[in-house]
């Protein structure tokens, strides 16, 4: 293989592969990116067996062929090169690839292409077009609620439901749940639902791939895999099989107390007060009283803190306690200036919602801690 590509193109694409390849890897080939050169482009491919990314960039190929190179080192080397053309060429032995630019020259060992896992091919299924910016927002509003490691493996991902006229993302770690529904423009009512549980890594890759610009995403749900074509890049993901819990059941219907907060004031108050909360539980209390909510915390080792917020509230006095992080997770991703807290009592699920959001519904359910 022998080719020349622009450094800027190569760096831009290689950067997307950095999170795909495994950091703590037991299979050496999975640390590598597969580069295939043919015609006037090169194709890059990497996988950790859970997600895979394929991407392309322009290149003038003098000798077509393929190599696998360590994704991290290749990226570091190319990134450090001057803004010029980069030459990649397999040495005669076939064991080593030279990466050079201007006066710089380097050699890296390549692993056999045959060792690279074969990836599922898309095709056959229905391809749905989704607005990239909407997808990005939905991912951002739910991905933090996914549990890290749960035996209920189906909670290690977010449920994605696609309908002709709307779509839904839901994620939960069993203690809080984030649900967002968004409209799809021009979609007809009714029709089939396309459901899948997306692994956490897939969500973070999606948000990375969708971070710049608004681009349409071609989405296909295969038998065991999901395919997201995002411009020149194709993200392939394993699907988590399993039954996502009946999330509708934990969304309270009878929360009769509602308080609206200015988002920024609530965010600052919770953040400040939480500093002196119990380090393990991170508990902050909201002490509700007539036209006032006091955010408080205390811990035996650090002391205590409080900050009152003026609100419109005429209901009974009540104290409800949350993990500050759970509250901040929501406040950090919600865009509206005003948010609402809806609750029933000290022990039932509370709901946080944006007020005045357009084009989507966002519901965040938190299980209160015992006071």
């Amino acid at each position: 293989m022998e080719l020349v590509a622009r450094k800027a193109d190569l760096v831009r694409e290689l950067q997307f592969f950095q999170q795909i390849v495994e950091r703590k890897n037991t299979i050496p080939i999975l640390a590598n990116v597969l580069i295939e050169a043919d015609g006037d482009s090169l194709t890059l491919l990497a996988t950790d067996l859970e997600v895979a990314l394929r991407s392309k960039c322009e290149a003038s190929v003098t000798k077509s062929g393929s190599v696998t190179l360590p994704a991290k080192k290749l990226y570091e080397v190319v990134r450090a090169l001057p803004e010029s053309d980069v030459r990649l060429a397999t040495e005669k032995s076939g064991q080593v690839v030279s990466v050079s630019a201007e006066r710089f020259e380097s050699h890296m060992p390549t692993l056999p292409r045959e060792d690279f896992p074969s990836l599922p091919e898309s095709g056959g299924g229905t391809v749905h077009t989704i607005k990239g910016s909407t997808l990005r927002e939905m991912v951002a509003k739910t991905q933090f609620a996914i549990t890290g490691e749960d035996t209920r493996y189906y909670l290690n991902g977010a449920l994605f439901v696609l309908r002709p006229d709307s779509m839904t993302f839901v994620a939960t770690d069993g203690h809080r749940l984030a649900l967002v529904n968004a409209e799809r423009e021009g979609g007809a009512k009714g029709g089939d639902e396309v459901k899948a549980i997306l692994p956490r890594k897939t969500l973070s890759e999606l948000s990375r791939l969708l971070s710049d610009g608004d681009i349409d995403v071609q989405y296909e749900r295969g038998e065991n895999h999901l395919f997201f074509q995002i411009g020149p890049r194709l993200l392939i993901s394993r699907m988590i099989d399993g039954q996502f819990p009946a999330f509708e059941k934990v969304i309270p219907k009878s929360n009769d107390k509602r308080i609206e907060f200015e988002k920024d004031r609530l965010t600052s108050a919770v953040r400040r007060v939480a500093i002196l909360s119990n380090e393990r539980s991170r508990a902050v209390k909201l002490v509700l009283d007539k036209d006032k909510v006091e955010v408080t915390s205390s811990s035996p080792e650090f002391g205590d803190a409080r900050e009152p917020l003026p609100v419109d509230y005429t209901g009974p006095a009540l104290t409800i306690c949350f993990n500050a992080q759970y509250v901040l997770d929501f406040l950090n991703v919600v865009e509206s200036d005003v948010i609402a807290l809806e609750l029933k009592d000290e022990v039932s699920q509370a709901v946080l919602k944006p007020v005045g959001a357009e084009g989507y519904d966002y519901t965040y359910v938190i299980m209160p801690m015992r006071v």
């Binding site: 549990t147 890290g148 490691e149 749960d150 035996t151 692994p199 059941k249 299980m367």
Partner: protein, 354 residues
Amino acid sequence: MDAFYASVEQRDNPALRGVPVVVGGDPTKRGVVAAASYEARRYGVRSALSMAQAVRLCPALVIVRPDFQKYRSVSQQVFALYREVTPLVEPLSLDEAYLDVTENAWGEPLGVTVAKRLKQAIRDTTGLTASAGVAPNKFLAKIASGWKKPDGLTVVAPGRVESFLQGLSVDALWGVGPRTADKLRAHGITMLPHVRTIPVEDLRGIVGSLADWLKALADGRDDRTVEPNRPAKSSGSECTYESDLTDMARIRTEIQEMAGEAAEWLARKDLVARTVVIKVRYSDFTTVTRSHSESPPTRDVERLAGRALALLEKTEAGRRPVRLLGVSVHNLQNTDAPVVRTRDDAPRLPFDGD
């Protein structure tokens, strides 16, 4: 202990005495031999052989299902006898241990007398026979204990170490498995004295970092002390299934249960683990392991199982039929530091059946 599990079974069931007996799994269901009586060994039946093979070698073989609870209680009896003699007892398994009897409760000046008395005490208490090796260090004692079996007693007195070493093949060396032995033999090194003659640099070229250790052993040097409380480095379990597993839900349940066992073990030992390893053997016998390390270490069953299940996603289990599954925990440490509280102490959303 001689043919430990099999001997216990023969002791408890007179009908089994004098006949070839093995303890292990079902031959029609991929069982393996866990222990073979001396009668069975005459037919070439050894432990770790597949039961089907064992039956081919010895059609008259009597197969007894293992009763580990019974073996454990016999083992406890035997170890109690050891500990009456010296606190310096280093267990190697249920039925094998090193004892440092330099100083002993009986005040016996000679190791060989201690060994004789212990063998008698074991026979009186359990009705079973044991073989002992008495030597100046662990390496020699271990080899000596296997010299004559069953009911053997081999003494390698300091003056006889040299002649004992002369007769040993490289396989006998601690740390030399079949692979290393093959490598050594390929270089003409078959007997211990050959190890002495080859320069250490050349030996390093053959066996790598093992070279210095082998050199020491070949000279009969082994300074390892008997460590009564040698901390465990890992723990785990694995299971070969009667028929291959393809159902992902079943595979997950199995992994979850094994992670649960590991968590229980950690709790018993008051340890936490930083690393979880899973092992998957597919129906074609190719075997993969996947490992995950993370701080802080934990023994929380949800976390351990969660990690193990996440690792499972990085295998082809389910898409390829699975013959064997295993879960183990490594990088263990004591729980001096407070165990990090998990979020699962926090109240849960009321999902149905949660």
